[in-house]
Symmetry: C2
Subunit: 309 residues, 2 copies
């Protein structure tokens, strides 16, 4: 019997690392957003998968949260000299993962198989499950037209105002079979403090995914990515203002709606406790140290267990 | 009016560098073997083009003759950790060229266009012309079956005995139009001291190439890659022994046959002077220093000019 944790990039990976310390490899599986995957320089790049992979492997860059620690940038410098596209930074070591994944996909492997291979090579015992083996691409709507997610997020540094999102291919994409398998005997579903709009919603948009999560008897808890009226990391609060909704934790709970059985608020937002339509718990959710990650993971698991009783 | 120099990898590139010092960008064009191009890790790799490019750009690795100087190998180390193929070494900076070339080819550019772009980016004014924009692949025959060229040359380190060669696609490949243009008004054709079997023969095998070189009124001179009974670089002499022909400079001249108007021997082989069916010249052809490269280039050009008079 296993927990299932849904996660996007940096913020979600922090809690995922805590969960991996608290729960064994058979006790939790991670479902990862692939809506921000893209083809770049002929390579298949899976930013959220890679962030979680490097985090769980102890190879992540502690300063940036993305990419590898102990990285060098000679490839990028040489690419720039050749006039190539340099807006998306690819470290020399990181590049090996993109090249090997692209090669394996071209040879017929699924993204799940590639991810399993990479995890084994990097010594990760926990299961990392791409949300789908089918392509889903997050599209960001702005007043000036649509942008692919990485153009919005990396090239344009989240500067354009957002008016909405599309998840191209999600309607035809099947959930990763490994996810449905975990849901057959699941103890609790945790939505990590990732961006609801561009990290979690793409997962929920995969055909049949939200229904599968709702049908599962296990409780669903989300950890708020908003603390005070700010996102701990990334553009969540900015997006909420642009979408003309309050940039509050409560609003995140409302956004997930019926899916949730519980919502985990930060201590700073304890006052919102009684205003939510679901059960709530309060914890210190700003994760600076590994101890913070582990403590929040314990709190989230305890909350799920309470709800599941 | 321009000279045309045919070249393969390291040995040829040495003389090409001398020629580039002696002749201006409009005075010599380089025709490069692409029979050892291959797809590896999803990348289009052109070893001989790259050796010449890095050599003329002053970026080559003085120790190995291939790849870039000032190189790092973090990509390869990370690829090895992922269980990827590591028999073909790709440096971090070098990789940028393969990625950008592969991207441009996939976008519809010809190999000639890619090469022109790379030369411009690296400040090379001389013309580097792939022998063809169509794929040609050198296949090595051995008693144990056939090997792709890079499997023979790099992976198996030239250990298998050779029994012959195929140049797949050569019969359907068209010569680079830029070569035919140079031949319209050509002052002399120089075959650099590259391996006759796997560097020069693939060029000559391109449909119509040998006929175009023979029809051209300019003299054709080859510089011997054999000095004494040894190849200056690479497996030429070993191949000759395996093919059961004498591993001598004279034999190289016989191999090129009617194509040649002249043959340039090393001083060590001056005794073979009178035994050749073509005009001969003698020079110090072992190139250690840049001065050696320039001196041999001058000698070769002078010989061509003599023959063309």
């Amino acid at each position: 019997m296993s927990y299932l944790a849904l996660t996007g990039g940096i913020g979600g990976a922090k809690l995922a690392l805590g969960l991996a310390h608290v729960l064994g490899p058979t006790e939790v599986a991670f479902v990862v957003n692939t809506g921000d995957d893209f083809e770049h320089l002929g390579l298949h790049i899976s930013p959220d998968l890679d962030t979680l992979t490097y985090t769980l492997a102890g190879r992540s860059n502690a300063d940036t949260g993305w990419g590898r620690g102990d990285e060098s940038w000679h490839f990028m410098a040489a690419l720039e000299e050749l006039g190539g596209e340099t807006w998306f930074q690819l470290g020399d070591r990181d590049l090996a993962l993109h090249v090997e994944r692209t090669r394996m996909l071209a040879a017929g492997a699924t993204l799940t198989e590639v991810t399993r291979h990479v995890c084994a090579a990097l010594g990760i015992a926990h299961r990392i499950l791409p949300m789908s083996d089918d392509p889903v691409r997050t599209i960001v709507h702005t007043p000036d037209g649509v942008l692919s997610f990485q153009h919005y997020f990396v090239r344009d540094r989240c500067r354009p105002a957002v008016t909405g999102f599309d998840f191209q291919g999600a309607g035809e994409a099947a959930p990763n079979p490994g996810i449905l398998k975990v849901l057959e005997d699941c103890r609790g579903i945790l939505i990590c403090p990732s961006n609801p709009f561009v990290s979690v919603d793409p997962i929920l948009a995969v055909s049949g995914m939200r229904a599968a999560l709702e049908t599962c008897s296990a409780p669903v808890v989300a950890v708020s990515p908003i603390v005070g009226d700010r996102a701990i990391k990334g553009p969540t609060a900015k997006m909420m203002r642009e979408l003309d909704v309050p940039s509050t934790a409560r609003q995140v709970a409302l956004h997930y709606g019926d899916l949730l059985d519980g919502f985990l608020l930060d201590e700073q937002d304890a006052a919102q406790h009684g205003t939510l339509p679901v059960a709530t718990a309060v914890a210190q959710s700003v994760m600076v140290s590994l101890e913070d990650r582990i403590a929040l993971a314990r709190a989230a698991v305890a909350f799920l267990d309470d709800l599941g009783r």
